[in-house]
């Protein structure tokens, strides 16, 4: 008996060593999110857009536009944006002004140039922008766009995002850019945990709920019209529904007990969540308006944090404490074919990649009283169960949520002392803090 368990033990060690060796070597190789991350990046220059009019109010609008566009391109994950210090002194504001050689040769050595002009015309802000392929002098224009919106800084940002989305659509293999997507999250900066919303880059942070209670786990619907979340009521934790169109809560059925961790199906017709309405916390699925709830899991121990496979809509990843510490599982939406994904530690908060291939989740691999080590963000290839650790900067990292293009992940981290929201590329690079005031947590990236 002892011998056989030793045998198993040493086999396990051997397998682990093999895996670690393979893992270390393969860590940067196998991670192919199928989104263009990791392939050679297109080198692009984006000189500041020029003023098209002499309006005195131009300067702040143009500044916001240029900063936003440059940041969008840098954040995309598929472009190598040439530093502005390498640019020629003469920058173009229109096709007539561009000298392709000056951009295509060193020092900029760019393959693409995005350029244009904008300015205030009456009450409007008008913008013209182009994307030129420097290496194709016969027919350099890849893209030419015009935008006109009321002249506000928010609209200057919006126009920059739209133009950047067009560029990404052309250069990123046909995957739409994420620059108009939103992130909903929980902030305590007013003294209460309320639901907030912001742009993908942290701009435009806006409070939505004013309940003065504790509101948690906001999840935005696929059409960006509603936010499902949990809020503390007098008799338990209820699911609530906030309408972004009406700017207020809309009615949603009351379920008794603790109702947490809502999740939308990708078609927006269903909501899965965890409820103790019939005893142990179990996963339920109801229509998007809360009608006809059905229990999907049924076992002793806590089941929660469902995440739909957005590609197929037929699978749900979730967290279960059925064997002790919480682990990750995957099942069919009818509760069959339950498959355990993690074997050790403390694994929570799954989010499914848009292409259906990966899970991202928070994991403390060596969890237990007195055990060292941080809780970090990981991604796992579902078919092979191979994983890669994406955060290494300490603190407790949790609630990863995938961007609509599959190239980015937003998450919460305590690495700076307080809980704040960060983004990174899905390979762990370009980690960037988005929130700063109060505590901000549980980010959820919109479907589009």
């Amino acid at each position: 008996m002892r011998r056989s368990s030793m045998k198993i033990g040493s086999m396990k060690t051997a397998v682990l060593i093999l895996f670690l060796a393979f893992h270390a070597a393969a860590q940067t190789d196998w991670i192919r999110t199928g989104t263009g991350l990791g392939v050679e990046k297109v080198r692009i220059a984006a000189p500041d857009f020029k003023a098209s009019t002499g309006d005195a109010a131009n300067a702040p609008l143009i500044k916001v536009f240029n900063e936003t566009l440059f940041n969008d391109l840098e954040s995309s994950g598929i472009l190598d944006v040439v530093s502005k210090s390498f640019y020629p002194l003469q920058t173009p504001g229109s096709p007539a002004e561009i000298q392709l050689d000056a951009w295509g040769n060193p020092p900029p050595n760019a393959a693409m140039v995005a350029f244009g002009n904008l300015g205030k015309q009456g009450d409007d802000l008008a913008m013209q922008g182009w994307l030129f392929d420097v290496k194709n002098p016969q027919s350099p224009q890849v893209l030419g766009k015009q935008y006109r919106e009321t002249a506000t800084e928010d609209n200057a940002r919006l126009i920059a995002h739209r133009f950047a989305n067009e560029i990404i659509m052309r250069l990123g293999g046909g995957v739409a850019g994420i620059f108009e997507s939103k992130i909903v999250f929980v902030s305590s900066r007013t003294g209460h945990k309320e639901i907030w919303i912001m742009d993908y880059d942290g701009a435009g942070q806006k409070q939505l709920t004013h309940l003065g209670s504790i509101s948690l786990s906001p999840r935005i619907s696929p059409d960006n019209s509603r936010i499902a979340y949990s809020t503390f009521g007098k008799r338990g934790i209820e699911l609530s529904m906030y309408s972004l169109e009406l700017g207020r809560n809309v009615s949603f059925p009351h379920f008794s007990g603790t109702n947490i961790s809502p999740a939308w199906s990708a078609d927006g017709t269903k909501i899965a969540w965890s409820s103790s309405m019939r005893g142990d916390p179990e996963i339920f699925i109801a229509d998007g308006n809360g009608a006809s709830p059905k229990r999907v899991t049924a076992n002793k121990g806590r089941n929660l944090a469902p995440a739909w496979n957005p590609k197929t809509g037929s699978q749900i990843a979730f967290v279960s404490g059925r064997t002790g510490l919480p682990q990750l599982y995957v099942m069919e939406t009818d509760g069959t074919n339950v498959q355990r994904m993690t074997e050790t530690g403390y694994a929570v908060s799954p989010s499914w990649s848009p292409n259906g291939q990966f899970l991202t989740f928070a994991w403390r691999r060596n969890y237990g009283p007195g055990a060292p080590g941080a809780q970090d963000i990981y991604i796992m290839d579902i078919a092979s169960k191979q994983w890669v650790q994406l955060t290494h900067s300490g603190g407790t990292n949790d609630y990863p949520s995938w961007s609509p293009d599959g190239r980015h992940i937003v998450f919460e981290s305590t690495r700076g002392g307080s809980t704040q929201i960060w983004t990174m590329l899905a390979d762990g690079s370009q980690q960037k803090q988005l929130t700063f005031g109060g505590h901000n947590q549980q980010p959820n990236w919109s479907f589009k």
């Binding site: 103790s276 916390p281 009283p369």
Partner: protein, 247 residues
């Protein structure tokens, strides 16, 4: 005569706990040589349920051996073994006395009656004027849990028993059990864990005789820690089922 004898025996029966051999005192009255000492009686008494709303019946079940005279205080003389339904108007300790040639034996069963107390003695009312909140804080203890656990430990079970006893004294009080967790781990998982802890306290309370209709539960996960340092002693304080008055 019989009544008087019975009284003497009762006194002896009560004294038997303190003075061994009391029951033997009548023996010298017997003129013949003493027979071998008769076996001492045994007795057991139970009530089901142990806690009821006022007006609800309770089933008393008892059994005795080696007894010739079995009496339940408030019920009267009964058979050696049996069951009987009673409807106590207030919390009552039923006392069974089994007497036989070998001595006597007592057994008791406590029934807690919940609901408005008809007429509490004025002195008692005057003695306890604390608000329900003050009273709860002084008489009912938090139930603590191990790391990542919603199991009721033996120590927690003792706390539960004491709390049920205390809550029997103020039967008008309705409580909400708050399930709390320490700061470690994920927000959502801790909400589920807190839910499990509150539910575990509730089922332990009802198993110990408290009426389920007096108990609500809510989970606070790690949202409302009572201690905010990152230390095990602090974490232990936060892993609890906390009692509040239901409003």
């Amino acid at each position: 005569m019989k009544q008087r004898k019975s009284t003497i025996y009762s006194v002896c029966a009560l004294a038997i706990l303190l003075v061994a051999g009391c029951g033997k005192k009548p023996a010298p009255k017997v003129p013949q040589a003493p027979p071998p000492p008769p076996p001492a009686p045994t007795a057991s008494l139970s009530a089901n349920p142990m806690s009821v709303q006022k007006g609800q019946p309770v089933q008393l079940t008892w059994s005795t051996t080696n007894a010739t005279d079995v009496n339940i205080e408030g019920v009267g003389g009964v058979n050696a073994s049996g069951t009987q339904s009673v409807t106590p108007q207030e919390s009552t300790t039923y006392r069974l006395t089994a007497r036989g040639p070998g001595g006597s034996q007592e057994a008791t069963a406590r029934v807690t009656v919940e609901g408005p107390v008809a007429a509490p003695p004025p002195s008692q009312q005057a003695a306890d004027t604390s608000s329900d909140e003050q009273w709860l804080a002084g008489h009912v203890q938090d139930v603590f849990f191990d790391y990542d656990s919603a199991d009721i430990s033996p120590e927690a079970q003792r706390t539960i028993q004491a709390n049920v006893q205390a809550l029997g004294q103020r039967s008008t009080v309705r409580v909400t059990i708050e399930g709390h967790c320490d700061e470690r781990g994920s927000t959502e998982y801790n909400l589920a864990l807190g839910e499990s802890r509150a539910a575990a306290v509730r089922s332990a309370l009802t198993a110990a005789g408290m009426n389920a209709s007096r108990i609500n539960t809510i989970s606070y996960g790690k949202e409302k820690p009572q201690c905010t340092e990152a230390s095990e002693s602090c974490w232990q304080k936060n892993r609890r089922g906390h009692f509040t008055i239901t409003k």
